[in-house]
């Protein structure tokens, strides 16, 4: 299937049709990995899970700086919510302590609930924003909460 000649008007259409006809898996099969960028952790506030919001130079040609920083900031807020020390977490902790922590066998922890939210958010961001630009965010939990891995795919289909 040869792509139609690109003009500014149908450029977007090509991108969107790309997403509707191919899943992320196909995207990977059709494109080769050009590079990987790793967003490291930001430890200035201690050991809480936060990622650096500094925009990496490799992504300058691919995505808007504001957009990217917004994504990282939202992720940071979600992780802060997971590790928040407040009434609910203390209650969960005390209840767990009283039952000799056996309550975790039946109950999902607050952290795990937020991790699910994060996974959904990342998938949504990938579908809407990153995949059309040939980028893919990897959920940090798959990298031990150490880095956000951004995979850059070669833009073959867009003729670059």
């Amino acid at each position: 299937m040869t792509p139609p000649p690109l003009t500014p008007t149908n450029h977007r259409k090509v991108q969107l049709s790309h997403i509707t006809t191919h899943s992320l898996q196909d995207l990977r099969q059709q494109a080769a990995v050009a590079a990987k960028v790793f967003i490291q952790r930001d430890y200035t506030n201690g050991t809480v899970c936060q990622f650096q919001t500094k925009f990496p130079s490799e992504l300058e040609t691919r995505i808007d700086k504001q957009q990217f920083e917004e994504t990282v900031r939202t992720l940071n807020n979600l992780y802060a919510e997971a590790e928040k020390l407040g009434g609910q977490s203390y209650l969960e902790g005390c209840l767990a302590c009283l039952t000799a922590y056996t309550v975790f066998l039946c109950m999902e922890t607050h952290y795990e609930k937020v991790l699910k939210k994060i996974a959904k958010y990342i998938q949504e961001q990938n579908d809407k924003i990153y995949a059309p630009r040939g980028l893919l965010l990897t959920d940090p939990i798959e990298r031990g909460l150490r880095v956000i891995e951004v995979t850059l795919f070669e833009d073959r289909s867009l003729g670059r």
């Binding site: 099969q29 000799a100 795990e112 959904k120």
Partner: protein, 447 residues
């Protein structure tokens, strides 16, 4: 596998690399999918299909369990009938509840992932290498790498872990016995047969507190009954209560045993008084945070499946021999080293179960500076405590402890199959260390 070679290639995927290989991999997923615990590079043992994790050397865990069970058994058999008759029927009830609490906490401490950090993927490791690589040629190893960051106006040094190929987050240390980096590393406890770190510190703390209560309770009952158990109880109380007191102090100041021994946040030689940047400056808040804070998830995803495009999962184990590690760890002067060694050996004599004939890694006394992670010399006078060198014990066959968490974790990942397939790691260098080669390593104290 043979049928893959003759499968018609879809012209759409001609441009992509290895389309048929991917199809083959897809088909063979069902045949030989493995869980991540099967290819886990650290020195851990897994039971119940990855639900239970133990250190390779279970230390004196069987002894701990045995002591608790035997002492309580004797108590219930001999003292309870007498005391039920003369006092109240609640004596065995309270004893029973405490005993159950102690055993459950102990098992949770031993069988839980202490907060192991998974090793860096090759891409990550290459990225880190690129960032710190200056002009060094490839023929020699570059000098030990550190990175300085500022946390709440305190300068903290992050060290590079040669085994896990990443800069260790703050408060993380590499345990040489388990060969893993553990978050908020406290110590490796031989009594419990596992590291004590971020995820199981609260279990450990509840274990020693409940054990203190149990031993005091039994002691109190036994004084009433005046039997020979007095002697064993007295010694246990003194050590266990001492340890509980020490850990209560640590919890209240949001410190780890490791940091306390190394004096990370007390007045260092030559530097001004440093303040612990992780403390919330309130005893109550520190206690709440450490014991009742949100329960962090396990990062090693033991029961996840190994991604299909991962040829090295079946590859022969590579040996990571970092001779450099020993050099990078000698920060102390020889005089300090000798001093600590002497103090350590004194304390070692107090601790009956661990004899020097123990371990293959027992050369720690003369080689690397082992003491920073060994007995808590300065703070607790009598705690036999938990320290690195101990007798290797035969593997413990633990009963099945199905943690619902892991099945939930599996379902969490099954929501996003796209990510699983879409994370292109051409090669994951897993380095499962062969046990025999452990003898060649000097003890590397966690840093």
């Amino acid at each position: 596998m043979k049928s893959c070679e003759y499968q018609q290639i879809d012209p759409r995927t001609l441009a992509a690399s290895h389309p048929s290989a991917q199809r083959c991999a897809g088909q063979s997923i069902a045949q030989r999918s493995r869980r991540k615990w099967e290819v886990f590079p650290g020195k851990n043992r897994f039971y119940c299909d990855g639900r239970i994790i133990l250190a390779r050397q279970s230390g004196v865990l069987p002894l701990t369990l045995g002591l608790i069970v035997v002492t309580c058994g004797l108590f219930f058999a001999f003292d309870c009938p007498f005391l039920v008759e003369h006092l109240t029927v609640f004596i065995p009830v309270i004893g029973g509840v405490l005993f159950v609490f102690v055993v459950v906490s102990l098992l949770q401490t031993s069988l839980t992932d202490p907060g192991i950090l998974p090793r860096a993927t090759p891409d990550e490791a290459a990225d880190v290498e690129r960032q710190i690589d200056t002009s060094g040629s490839s023929s020699y190893r570059p000098p030990p790498r550190t990175r300085e960051i500022v946390i709440r106006e305190q300068v903290v040094k992050l060290k590079y872990c040669f085994t896990c190929k990443m800069f260790r987050p703050p408060r993380t240390s590499h345990c040489s016995l388990c060969d893993n980096c553990v978050e908020r590393f406290d110590h490796h406890c031989p009594w419990v047969g596992n590291c004590v770190g971020r995820r199981n510190y609260r279990f450990f703390y509840s274990f020693i507190i409940s054990l203190s209560f149990l031993t005091s309770f039994i002691f109190g009952c036994v004084i009433t009954h005046l039997t020979l158990q007095l002697v064993i109880c007295f010694f246990s109380i003194w050590s266990v209560m001492g340890l509980s007191g020490f850990h209560t102090y640590l919890v209240a100041s949001n410190l780890t045993t490791n940091e306390d021994i190394k004096g990370s946040w007390s007045s260092k030689r030559g530097a001004a008084d440093s303040v612990n940047p992780y403390s919330h400056n309130s005893v109550f808040t520190n206690c709440c945070v450490t014991l009742c804070g949100p329960m962090p998830p396990s990062l090693i995803d033991r029961r996840g499946s190994v991604p299909p495009d991962d040829p090295s999962a079946a590859a022969a184990p590579e040996l990571e021999l970092p001779p450099f590690m020993a050099k990078s760890d000698t920060r102390m002067s020889p005089k300090d080293l000798l001093e600590r060694v002497v103090r350590t050996s004194d304390l070692c004599l107090l601790c009956p179960p661990a004899t020097p004939k123990t371990t293959p890694q027992g050369q720690g006394v003369s080689a690397a500076p082992d003491p920073p992670s060994s007995c808590s010399s300065s703070s607790s006078p009598s705690a036999p405590g938990c320290w690195e060198r101990q007798a290797p014990c035969p593997p413990m066959a633990a009963p099945c402890h199905p943690y619902g968490r892991d099945t939930k974790r599996a379902s969490l990942h099954s929501i996003n199959p796209a990510f699983r397939l879409a994370s292109p790691s051409p090669m994951l260098s897993h380095t499962p260390l062969v046990v025999g080669d452990a003898a060649n390593f000097a003890i590397i104290p966690p840093h």
